[in-house]
């Protein structure tokens, strides 16, 4: 029944965003869309976090998603954002499937650091690739939906709605997965791998699956961010980007699949606010905000919205 409530919340959020969209100023729509993109990556981190795994390199798949979308436009002239997100999702999942065989053997800090190394290697490769604009990155074609280029007035809203719809769908699927026996192994794996094996389940396979799903989500996020921002660059794979995602995930809490999106939105707002109230010391503002959340809301912002779990 917990899942039903999640769906309900999700549905309301979706309707709210789609409905309120036109009322929002464009800059706000933009922030929300970016929040959804980053929220998808945070959701990916949450999946791994539930199994006790923290990736310091999730930006790898965020970046792969973004560059898949970008290449689609640059080399094939395809600017349909849904197609871009699909490609981003697929490419990320594909690469994650391969790397997963390696990563699934790792736990704790080493899982995090190996993924960090991998994302930094991608960063290096992109910096060296002139065709993709090196560090300056490349602009990607203005988004279209089903081949139609929305009018300037509405494009933000269209992108927002499309992004929402995809994110909504993805989250539903993830939520369903979390309620399958495999999904529910997460906590078990975190608690006691030996017992999991002695119950006849393969920890490695379970983690591999999680890893691929996480990558797919991040890929979608990256593609969405790319088509929203209209520009991609290697920094999307840099370790600080991964750090930002972990920031968001912890900020949000891992209780609900909705939390990451909330976290991403609030992160975006904090960032903008920090820029406004202290352009010269926004990092400090950001740091303090993070400290306050960790100290006063140990279960993340979500705990403001959900009752404490029993037991």
């Amino acid at each position: 029944m917990r899942s039903d409530r999640t769906l309900l919340i999700l549905g309301i959020v979706l309707l709210a965003v789609v409905g309120a969209g036109p009322l929002l100023p464009q800059w706000a729509m933009f922030i929300v869309t970016i929040a959804i993109a980053k929220g998808l990556v945070a959701l990916a981190l949450m999946l791994q976090l539930r199994a006790g795994l923290v990736s310091f390199g999730q930006a790898l798949y965020y970046c792969i998603g973004a560059y898949s979308a970008g290449s689609l436009g640059r080399f094939f002239g395809i600017s349909d954002m849904l197609l871009q997100m699909l490609t981003g999702c697929f490419m990320a999942a594909l690469i994650a499937y391969v790397l997963g065989f390696l990563l699934a053997r790792y736990r704790g800090i080493f899982y995090g650091l190996l993924s960090l190394a991998l994302s930094m290697i991608l960063y290096g490769l992109l910096v060296k690739s002139k065709a993709l604009g090196s560090t300056d990155g490349i602009n990607i074609l203005p988004s279209t939906v089903f081949g139609i280029r929305p009018d300037q007035e509405y494009v933000r809203h269209i992108v927002l709605v499309a992004g929402c719809a995809v994110a909504f769908l993805a989250t539903l699927l993830v939520n369903r997965y979390l309620n399958t026996p495999l999904g529910q192994l997460a906590a078990a794996i975190k608690d006691n791998e030996i017992r999991v094996e002695y119950m006849g389940a393969s920890v490695r396979d379970a983690i591999h699956v999680k890893y691929v799903i996480a990558a797919a989500l991040s890929g979608i996020g990256g593609a969405l961010a790319a088509t929203t921002v209209g520009h991609i660059d290697p920094d999307m794979a840099y370790w600080t980007t991964s750090g930002e995602f972990i920031f968001i995930t912890i900020l949000a809490g891992t209780r609900s699949v909705v939390a990451p999106f909330l976290g991403a939105l609030i992160f975006g707002i904090i960032h903008t606010v920090a820029f406004d109230i202290s352009p010269n010391t926004w990092q400090m503002t950001l740091g303090i905000a993070l400290l306050l959340v960790i100290v006063f809301l140990p279960d993340g912002l979500w705990s403001l919205f959900a009752r404490r779990k029993v037991g």
Partner: protein, 269 residues
């Protein structure tokens, strides 16, 4: 009776230590076998070899005529050999009920019933009832219903042991290996606990091997005793015979008595 588990000439060395030497044991269907011996005599090693946690250097293990020596713990569990642990292995962040449900989920999944697209509440194979019902039933048999929603990490020692054993039942094991089911349980509770466990196990119908230090418990519940010493089996017979065997007396029971005195001593101290 039919042999379900056949261990032949198992040998295992850890460096200088001999953990198993020419261990031979054929276990018949539906018997209850007690494994005795002082610490380091090779009981747990024997169990670890059967469940694939340790591979023997030489020798083979057959389950219903199938060689399982090379299989992983996971595969061995899947074919119906389950074990409990000296130190309970629980999902400490989950409630007792959730612990059961995770296990049942795995069973469903291995049976191809818990996949991403499977709908509804299918019956758990071997239990012919939906997971929730099975969980409740097993918890009830082990007297754990009252703890249903408690987090595993806050459970008292005895209850942890019970849950650890209850978790092995979800897969409907053909062979159940209990590694010191009553360790850490006070002398008074021991019998009650074993009664309950054995009743539950019998209800589910399984061959049982259990490691036990308390000879009274052994003679009360075991139909057959394997006495280990220094990696070898020095006696393999019915309890009354095995326990009166002079070698066993010298190397095992005596040791046990001493050990128990010590334990009492510690308890009083």
């Amino acid at each position: 009776m039919a042999i379900v588990l056949d261990a032949r000439d198992l040998n295992k060395r850890f460096g200088a230590v001999t953990a198993a030497m020419n261990v031979n044991a054929a276990i018949e269907q539906d018997t209850v076998v007690g494994l005795i011996g002082t610490n380091g005599a090779g009981k747990t090693t024997f169990i670890n070899m059967i469940t694939g946690y340790i591979k023997p250097d030489t020798g083979s293990i057959e389950f219903r005529g199938r060689d399982i020596t090379a299989l992983s713990p996971r595969e061995i569990t899947r074919i119906g050999i389950c074990r409990s642990f000296q130190v309970p292995q629980l999902y400490s962040s989950l409630s007792v009920f959730e612990n059961m449900m995770v296990g049942l989920g795995v069973v469903l999944r291995n049976a191809g019933l818990g996949g991403y697209f499977s709908r509804g509440r299918p019956n758990v194979p071997g239990h012919d009832a939906p997971a929730e019902t099975v969980a409740e039933r097993i918890l009830q048999r082990f007297g754990l219903s009252d703890y249903r929603n408690k987090n595993a990490q806050v459970l008292p020692g005895g209850v942890r042991k019970l849950l650890d054993i209850a978790l092995t039942m979800v897969a409907k094991p053909a062979i159940l290996l209990l590694d010191e089911p009553t360790s850490g349980v006070s002398a008074e509770e021991k019998f009650g606990m074993m009664e309950m466990v054995m009743a539950a196990v019998k209800a589910e119908g399984a061959t049982v091997l259990f490691v036990e230090h308390d000879m009274e418990v052994v003679s009360r519940f075991a139909e057959r005793v394997l006495a280990f010493y220094d990696g070898r089996i020095i006696a393999d017979a019915a309890p009354e015979i095995a326990l009166s065997d002079p070698e066993v007396k010298r190397y095992v029971v005596g040791g046990e008595l001493r050990r128990m005195d010590e334990r009492e001593g510690m308890a009083n101290a």
